[in-house]
């Protein structure tokens, strides 16, 4: 095991045991190998030299001994991820711990391969122990530091769970950085992380992750930051993300943008979600119309349980959150509300009207927000249908919308 704080400043010796210089930095070339240190940058005289990993015989706390001394002068290389310059003191995302952390030190594993020793990046060190090492680096001999740090508990993150932040898209490509770790996280966790980052890093994440994940994440982010993210993205990318959002969420986000930007994004969007979003945008944010979404399942009055099942099969994407079915007459006017769970207790031929709730509770599109939350509380609702002046079903407000409203107060 070797820490970056120990590697930096380690003496490098040639074949005859003469000192060439000391290690100034170490670099991965992720395109070649994501964990093995590929090059060591050695400073001695006027210029820095590059030592390839296969030119090394042994690595220990006492120094690095070479087995090939044909070294080339160091030149900046976009494909290199330099440990000290690019990682030390910078922020990375701990995908497993779901938080943003700052790199204090790195831990390497020394592998004794037949050809010579190589270093593998093992952990990113955070916490007090690594701070202690950094402060003592160069002040005390490494072996003393190792002994003295004993009582402080270690705190580190496995290298494979670290997501490095790199705003420059060109460099991201050259460094072969994927967003797999972020895309695998729960959108709500990713949203918390994004809120903690700088504008540049937020933008970089949203530019690169899958639009569907981006949409789910954006939904969970607080409104002010939502707007600044969308405004920073290319219109096309922003439109892709907004398309993937539920229409009511999309309308909320767009309502928070400057008129010009939201018009551009709407323009860029595909047809189907666009018209729904546009309709929703017409409503005042503080009314039932502004709160509702248009993703609901409505069936004709004379439909049976079997009909309902058939329709639900076609709307599988809605099932995760759906808990209520609506009944409408020939003029699309709301006539009844059927709790989804009642479907399971009755045969396929049962008419849905017999399963509807006794009292029909609904609200008008221009009803005030406070009044709507009151209804949810009073009648213990999970979903509340919203109708227009002609009692035509316009949308539905669900309990999660109410929770967001209450949280924002």
């Amino acid at each position: 095991m070797l820490f970056l704080t120990e590697l930096l400043g380690l003496k490098v010796f040639d074949l005859k045991g003469r000192r060439i210089g000391v290690v100034k930095d170490a670099a991965l070339v992720p395109l070649v190998d994501p964990v093995r240190i590929d090059r060591y940058l050695v400073g001695g005289g006027w210029t820095w030299l590059t030592v390839r990993h296969d030119q090394i015989r042994s690595i220990s706390l006492d120094g690095i001994h070479l087995r090939d001394e044909n070294l080339t002068p160091y030149h900046a290389d976009e494909y290199m991820l330099r440990m000290a310059r690019d990682l030390l003191d910078q922020q990375v995302i701990d995908a497993q711990g779901r938080k943003v952390v700052r790199v204090n030190d790195l831990t390497f594993e020394i592998l004794h391969e037949p050809a010579g020793d190589v270093l593998w990046v093992l952990d990113v060190d955070i916490g007090l122990r690594s701070i202690f090492r950094r402060l003592m680096q160069g002040v005390l001999p490494p072996r003393w530091i190792r002994r003295l740090q004993g009582p402080i508990g270690p705190n580190s993150i496995r290298w494979e769970f670290c997501n490095i932040l790199e705003p420059d898209p060109q460099r991201r490509l050259r460094l072969n950085m994927s967003n797999r770790l972020l895309e695998e996280m729960h959108p709500a966790d990713l949203a918390d992380i994004v809120e903690e980052l700088s504008h540049e890093d937020r933008e970089a994440i949203f530019e690169n992750i899958d639009s569907e994940v981006a949409a789910d994440t954006l939904t969970e982010i607080e409104p002010g930051i939502q707007a600044s993210i969308l405004e920073s993205l290319e219109t096309e990318k922003a439109a892709d993300i907004v398309e993937e959002m539920a229409p009511d969420e999309a309308a909320d986000v767009l309502a928070g943008l400057e008129e010009e930007t939201s018009a551009e994004i709407l323009q860029e969007m595909e047809h189907a979600p666009k018209s729904e979003v546009r309709e929703l945008l017409e409503f005042d944010e503080d009314t039932a119309g502004g709160m509702m979404n248009t993703e609901y399942v409505a069936l004709p009055n004379d439909a049976t349980v079997a009909d309902a099942m058939r329709v639900l099969k076609d709307h599988e994407e809605l099932l995760e959150t759906l808990n209520t079915l609506f009944l409408i007459d020939a003029e699309e006017r709301l006539t009844g509300v059927v709790p989804l769970a009642r479907l399971f207790l009755h045969g396929g031929a049962t008419p849905l009207t017999t399963l509807a709730t006794d009292t029909l509770i609904d609200t008008l599109v221009d009803e005030q927000q406070d009044r709507v939350t009151e209804l949810f509380d009073k009648y213990n609702l999970l979903a509340l249908p919203v109708v227009d002046q002609n009692r035509k079903l316009a949308g539905v407000i669900t309990a999660d919308d109410i929770i967001s409203v209450l949280r924002q107060k």
């Binding site: 003191d89 700052r102 955070i126 402060l135 980052l197 504008h199 600044s228 405004e231």
Partner: protein, 418 residues
């Protein structure tokens, strides 16, 4: 012109969107230590020191505007940036001194709570622990949004100083003339007073707090214009309040008999001949300012330290998630309040000492700031313009000179036995 009106309204909306960070920072700047300095200046020298407020306002605007711009453009706190650009060791050093400086400032503020309430015959052995618990609960149990609202409301209480200044019926004509007429007297005490006025006006914690608050508020580069207006407005308000404190003490104490006062509460008492209300308002103002600063200082310190050293931080996190943040916050309050309750604690020496530490730290902070804000990789097109840089470096040099002088004077006073 409807479109012009609309644009005006949009600007107003954006302004209130960015409103808060600069205003709170600037108001807290007039904490117990500041109020004492201004009171002393007025009581001892009358209206003469008023001219310093104009240059102070400019210095304040320059330093605070740089912070808010950095926060808006980078979305990172000042200690984050120092860490990323100057490394861990420097950050650690800055943080150690910052904790010390803020702790001593905090002690002065708990002293302000104690002495202002003693005017109402409340024992410090009740008020200080109560104040400490209130501060802790307010910050830890309240959400940031509600806490910010409470803070903004607390700012209104500063109007108390304006009213008490008016109640004293000072010589307005003289006050106006002295506000724009610089007077230099080559007298050791006078120069000390001038330096103290400038020195207490810009403290290192302010830059850290303001930048973090700007980031927390979600201000972006697009809103820099509005944010700048906020800073300018806030700094002017701070100086207006300082003006009224000086004027109140000049009118009430100096015009009767010039003398030195020992603490801010004594200034409040000096207003008594002008009615119960003048004293009452001055004392309420002092209590509010002290309590307010006692909330902000430990909070700001814990944020800066945890950001800089990479520990979890934030009042929205649980104790278990951000232990170091909460421990530091708690410890600062406990020590700050505990010191005040220690019998025979050398309080005056402590306050002088705090000025020394502030003086040592501020040059570094200002230099780091000016270096950071000129980095194109960080600030893109929002780096300082050449003119701004001249002003900034000039202010930095001036501030450094003055605070070092203040530190030197304070050290002398400590040697003499405070």
């Amino acid at each position: 012109m409807p479109s012009a009106l609309k644009r005006y309204r949009v600007h107003l909306a954006i302004f209130f969107g960015v409103f808060g960070p600069g205003f709170i920072t600037a108001m807290v700047d007039n904490d117990a230590g500041g109020i004492y300095t201004y009171s002393q200046a007025g009581a001892r020298w009358g209206y003469l020191p008023l001219w310093t407020l104009l240059p102070i306002t400019i210095l304040l605007i320059v330093s605070q505007e740089m912070c808010s711009r950095m926060g808006a453009v980078t979305g990172k706190g000042l200690s984050d940036l120092i860490r990323e650009e100057f490394g861990l060791r420097i950050t650690f050093g800055v943080m150690v001194v910052l904790v010390l400086a803020n702790l001593t400032n905090l002690i002065a503020d708990f002293a302000g709570i104690a002495s202002s309430l003693e005017l109402f015959h409340l024992s410090r052995y009740i008020t200080v622990p109560l104040g400490a618990v209130t501060v802790w609960l307010l910050v830890v149990k309240g959400s940031y949004r509600s806490v910010e609202k409470i803070f903004l409301f607390a700012c209104i209480v500063y109007i108390a100083y304006i009213i008490s200044g008016i109640l004293v019926r000072p010589n307005w004509k003289l006050a106006m003339v002295d506000s724009v007429r610089p007077v230099l007297i080559f007298d050791g005490e006078y120069i000390t007073m001038v330096i103290a006025m400038v020195g207490t006006s810009i403290a290192p914690w302010m830059q850290f707090y303001q930048q973090s608050a700007v980031v927390e508020k979600g201000v972006t580069a697009k809103e820099i214009g509005e944010s700048r207006i906020e800073v300018i407005f806030s700094c002017i308000m701070t100086s207006v309040i300082a003006f009224f404190i000086v004027v109140a003490c000049a009118g009430a104490i100096y015009s009767v008999k010039p003398r030195d006062i020992q603490d801010a509460a004594e200034a409040a008492q000096g207003l008594r001949p002008f009615g119960q209300y003048a004293t009452l308002l001055f004392a309420v103002g002092l209590f509010n300012a002290s309590l307010f600063a006692a909330c902000i200082l430990p909070l700001s310190t814990s944020y800066s330290v945890c950001e800089g050293l990479g520990f979890e931080s934030g009042v929205n996190k649980k104790f278990r998630e951000a232990p170091i943040f909460y421990w530091l916050f708690t410890l600062l309050i406990v020590v700050g309040a505990g010191v005040i309750l220690t019998p025979n604690f050398p309080l005056v020496k402590m306050i002088l000492f705090s000025q020394v530490i502030n003086g040592v730290l501020l040059p570094f902070v200002l230099i780091f700031m000016t270096l950071l804000i000129n980095k194109r990789s960080l600030m893109k097109e929002w780096t300082n313009s050449r003119f701004y840089n001249v002003v900034a470096w000039g202010s930095v040099a001036l501030m450094i000179g003055l605070t070092l002088a203040l530190a030197a004077i304070s050290i002398q006073d400590i040697r003499r036995g405070g």
